[in-house]
Assembly symmetry: C2
Homo-oligomer: 181 residues x 2
DNA sequence: TAGTTTGTACAGTTTTTACTGTATAAACTA
DNA sequence: TAGTTTATACAGTAAAAACTGTACAAACTA
């Protein structure tokens, strides 16, 4: 096998692994392949470059590069004299992981807390209603306890997201370079 | 609106929120709805119970309860005299979150590290090959650096998973109950 | 301003995934 | 052992998602 082929194969292995694991970011394999391909390019790419490299339509490249950008896995780049939009992979992977939490998980936490607070308020109101029978009253009480439990859980999750966002996580789990060279 | 209706509506809101966010666990909304429904039941359920409550086929219930069990969101339960399999939601949501990392993210980290080490070894071998031209040699060198960077990243991610798994995360982000009562 | 180039909205198609119904194996019962 | 009950494998169908090609608006160029 020739040198260039060997390099290509070593890259392909990584790209395919990324493609098969990108679902953890809520993305489909082809977006992962796109990301992986871009990772090994030393220059920012245009949508047309991607179309050529991946053999997919420009429309697809456009939509998936947007999905990658939304998660801040990919960012816009500029190069003198190039009119087309240019994209490159964000080079801080630790930050990308943190961004996943800031974007996806925080959103989820917020949605949950809104719903929980609303339902909790309704049930607490209902528990004061003298017209509801005892059996139902008991059910309401149980549900209130359950909602308080999950409210505490999402509060915790929110604080966890904070800890990522403000980089405190690196105190507990420090970045260590070249541990096994 | 009658009492029981109000209770049901308060529950529905939570269930639907879970359904819409369960994709973070790699599950589809219907599995989230199933989980949410089970959360508000105070007794373990059989597959037939779920079929009835959700109006879906028993086959579906079987496959999605398995998916939920694989992520340890749901566990088997036993009740005297009941022959059918019984399931209940795991009641420690903090542990469920940790299990997500232990199961999905650790698997991903491992796959990545295997691929990276393999490719890195190949490229380091190739970089010693005197028959490859200088230009290619330069590319190889760049790729080796990139792979070392992401190896460090996945090492970090592995340590992060460890920190969840051995509960040390609770030192940094403690569980706090009823913070806003 | 007219003529290009570029990115994306949108409709249609292909592919994939979710879901159902039937068939069957395994476990239980009498 | 024969007869049930229960869970799931599997094949087929329905629904959803990914992907493509065309059309067009916005931005640029001359």
């Amino acid at each position: 096998m020739e040198g260039h082929e060997k390099l290509e194969k070593a890259r392909e292995r990584i790209i395919e692994t990324i493609a098969q694991n990108i679902h953890l970011y809520g993305l489909v394999p082809s977006a992962g392949r796109q990301y992986g391909m871009m990772f090994f390019q030393n220059e920012p790419l245009t949508l047309d470059d991607m179309t050529e490299k991946l053999g997919m339509s420009k429309t697809s490249m456009s939509t998936s590069v947007r999905a990658l950008s939304d998660l801040k896995l990919v960012e816009r780049a500029w190069k003198k004299g190039v009119r087309k939009d240019l994209y490159k992979v964000s080079d801080d992977w630790y930050q990308s992981f943190i961004d996943l939490f800031s974007i996806k998980w925080r959103r989820s936490v917020t949605l949950h807390l809104v719903a929980i607070k609303k339902s909790l308020a309704e049930l607490e109101e209902l528990s004061k209603d003298p017209t509801v029978n005892e059996e139902l009253q008991e059910e309401i009480k149980i549900d209130i306890e359950k909602l308080k439990y999950i409210r505490n859980y999402y509060d915790w999750l929110e604080r966890l997201v904070d800890v990522f966002e403000d980089q405190k996580i690196f105190d507990l789990v420090p970045i260590m370079n070249d541990s096994q060279d």
